[in-house]
Symmetry: C2
Subunit: 312 residues, 2 copies
C-alpha cells in the first residue's frame, strides 16, 4: 500500500522513508483506514503550509499524543477574500516537507483544489454570530471558508485529536464551536503562540514585512502585554484600551491599528468589565484553560495585515 515518497532533499533520504506524501483523498482514506483498524490513534495538524516554529510545536504535540500524525498543507481558496493574498500566499512545499520529515511526521496530505472541492460542490458550513465579529467583519466569508474546509478535512482524516494555534484565536473559537455544534468526535487542542525574541507572534505572513515594518510589528505584542498588565492591575478594559492604543501608535507610527479589544474567549463578545479572579492563567496545551478573557489586536503594516492575542 505504500506509495510515492518525498525525495527532494537527498540529505534527508534516510528519514524520508518514514513520511508518505499523499495528494488524493482516496489514497489517504485507504492508508488511514488500515491504521485505524489496527487501533492506531490519529493526530491531525491542518495547515496552509509556509510552516514555521509555531507549526512545529503543533506537530510535536501530535507526535507526543498520537500513534500517527497527519499534517495537511492546503492553501484554501474559499477563506481568502477577492482582494486578499491568495495568489501571493507563500507556497513552500519542499521546505515544509523537510520540516515535517525532521519531526518524523507519518503523512503529509497535500491535496489539489479539486480533491477538496469536487465538481458541483455547493454545501457550506456557516458558523454563527462569532463569524460576524472582528476578523469575520473584516474578511466576509473567511470563517465560512474555514469551517467548511476544516469539516471536509476532518471527515477525510477522521482524527481522534486535532491541533490549532492559539495565535489564530478567533479561528480556534470558530472551530471549537463547529466541533461542539456538529458533534465531530474530535478533541481540539490549542497550542500556545510562539514568539520572536521581540514578542512578534510567528505567522506565515511575517515574511511579507519590509525590515522597517518588521521592526514596528513588535508593537502588536507590546500592546497586548501592556493591556494585560493594566487589566491585572484592575484597570477597566476601556482605560486599558486607550493606554494600549497610545502605546501602539508610539511604537509603530507607520502602522494602522484596526482593532484592540477585550473579548470573551469563546464568543468574542466584547467585555466591558473584567474581573481578575486568580491572576494570570496561561493557556493550557490541552485546550481546557481558555481563560476568562482574551485581548485581541489587528493592524496593517504596509500591505500586510497581522493579528495577535493574549489569553488572560
Amino acid at each position: 500500500m505504500r506509495g510515492s515518497r518525498e525525495r527532494e532533499s537527498e540529505h534527508f533520504c534516510f528519514l524520508q522513508l518514514d513520511m508518505r506524501t499523499i495528494h488524493t483523498t482516496a489514497e489517504l482514506r485507504a492508508a488511514l483506514t488500515l491504521l485505524r483498524e489496527q487501533g492506531k490513534r490519529i493526530g491531525f495538524v491542518p495547515t496552509m503550509g509556509a510552516l514555521h516554529e509555531g507549526h512545529r510545536s503543533l506537530v510535536r504535540l501530535s507526535k507526543q499524543d498520537s500513534d500517527v500524525t497527519v499534517v495537511s498543507i492546503f492553501v484554501n481558496p474559499t477563506q481568502f477574500g477577492p482582494t486578499e493574498d491568495f495568489e501571493r500566499y507563500p507556497r513552500t512545499l519542499e521546505s515544509d516537507a523537510s520540516l515535517l520529515i525532521e519531526e518524523e511526521v507519518e503523512f503529509l496530505f497535500a491535496p489539489t483544489v479539486d480533491q477538496i472541492y469536487p465538481n458541483g460542490h455547493s454545501t457550506h458550513v456557516h458558523p454563527g454570530a462569532i463569524a460576524t465579529l472582528y476578523e469575520g467583519a473584516r474578511r466576509p466569508g473567511h470563517f465560512d471558508g474555514v469551517a467548511t474546509v476544516v469539516s471536509i478535512l476532518f471527515n477525510i482524516v477522521q482524527p481522534q485529536i486535532a491541533y490549532f494555534g492559539q495565535k489564530d484565536a478567533q479561528q480556534l473559537a470558530v472551530i471549537r464551536r463547529l466541533v461542539a455544534d456538529l458533534a465531530f468526535p474530535i478533541e481540539i487542542v490549542a497550542a500556545p503562540t510562539i514568539r520572536e525574541p521581540d514578542g512578534l507572534a510567528l505567522s506565515s505572513r511575517n515574511r511579507y514585512l519590509t525590515p522597517a515594518e518588521r521592526k514596528e510589528a513588535a508593537a502588536l505584542s507590546k500592546t497586548l502585554f501592556l493591556v494585560r498588565d493594566l487589566l491585572l492591575d484592575r484597570h477597566s478594559p476601556a482605560h486599558a484600551k486607550v493606554a494600549g492604543m497610545d502605546e501602539f501608535q508610539r511604537f509603530a507610527p507607520h502602522a494602522i491599528l484596526d482593532y484592540l479589544d477585550v473579548v470573551h474567549p469563546e464568543t468574542f463578545q466584547p467585555k466591558a468589565s473584567f474581573e481578575v479572579s486568580e491572576g494570570l492563567e496561561e493557556p493550557s496545551p490541552t485546550g481546557r484553560g481558555q481563560g476568562e478573557g482574551l485581548i485581541i489586536i489587528a493592524a496593517n503594516l504596509g500591505s500586510t495585515r497581522l493579528i495577535d492575542n493574549l489569553v488572560i
Copy 2:
C-alpha cells in the same frame, strides 16, 4: 454497559432484550465505539418517528447490510417553518419502538432537543442551489435544518451506511450532495417508495387526512404515472405536464396542486426536454440508479401538504 430497555409492551418482552433505547449522545457514542472497535459494520436509519412500512423497508435494508442497526427518532425543530406542523407532528414513540423491536433493531436513539443542539449552538450546514428550489422555495430554511441535523447525527452515529427514502427525493439529493461535499465517509442508500394499493406514497403526514382528502390524495401518484407514461411515449415534458395537471384536477377537485415538474434527479433543475434511452429504470436499492429524470409533485389537501415523485 447495557442500560435501560424498552418495557412498554409486555407481549414483546422476549425480543426487547435485543433493543437498547438511548437518549443521550454520550451513551450512544460509548456503546457504538465498543462495537466499532470490534469491527462491526453500523447501518443508520434517521427518522422523525411516526414509523410506517416505508421506514420498515429502510430498517430491513440496514439489517441485511450491517452488523448493527441504529434508528434515530428525532422530530427536528429546525427543519419546520414557523407556520408548519412541528407541534402537531405525530409522536408515537411506543408504537415506533414496537415496530423496531419486531425488526430486531439493536439501537433506538431518541435524543432530546438539547442533546442535538447544545447550549449556544450556532453552526449550520447550508446546501447550495438545490435547497432554493421546489420544497426549499416553499419551506425556507427547511433543507438547512435537514443538512445540519443529518450532519450532527452522522457525527454521533458514524455509520458506514445510511438509508433514506426515495419518497423525499429532494431531501435525498440534498443529502447525497452533503455527503459528497463535506466528504462524509458514509454510503447513502435510497429505498424505493412504498405505496398504498391506490398508489398513495406512505408518509407520516397521511394520518392528517380526512376520509375525503385521503381519497383525493391518490391523485398525486396517478398524475406521476400518467406523466411518466407520456414521457416514455416521447411526449415533451411541457405537454406531459399539461396533461398531468388536468388529470390531477379531475381526480382531486378540492386539492390545490403546488408544483408538477420534470427535473434532473441530482440538481433538481427543470428539464425542458427528456430523452428516453432504455425505457423505465427502477430506482436501485443500492442508490446507484438515480435515473435520468425525476417527476416531482406537491399538493395541498386541506391543511396537509403532500409530496411524491417518480424516477424515470
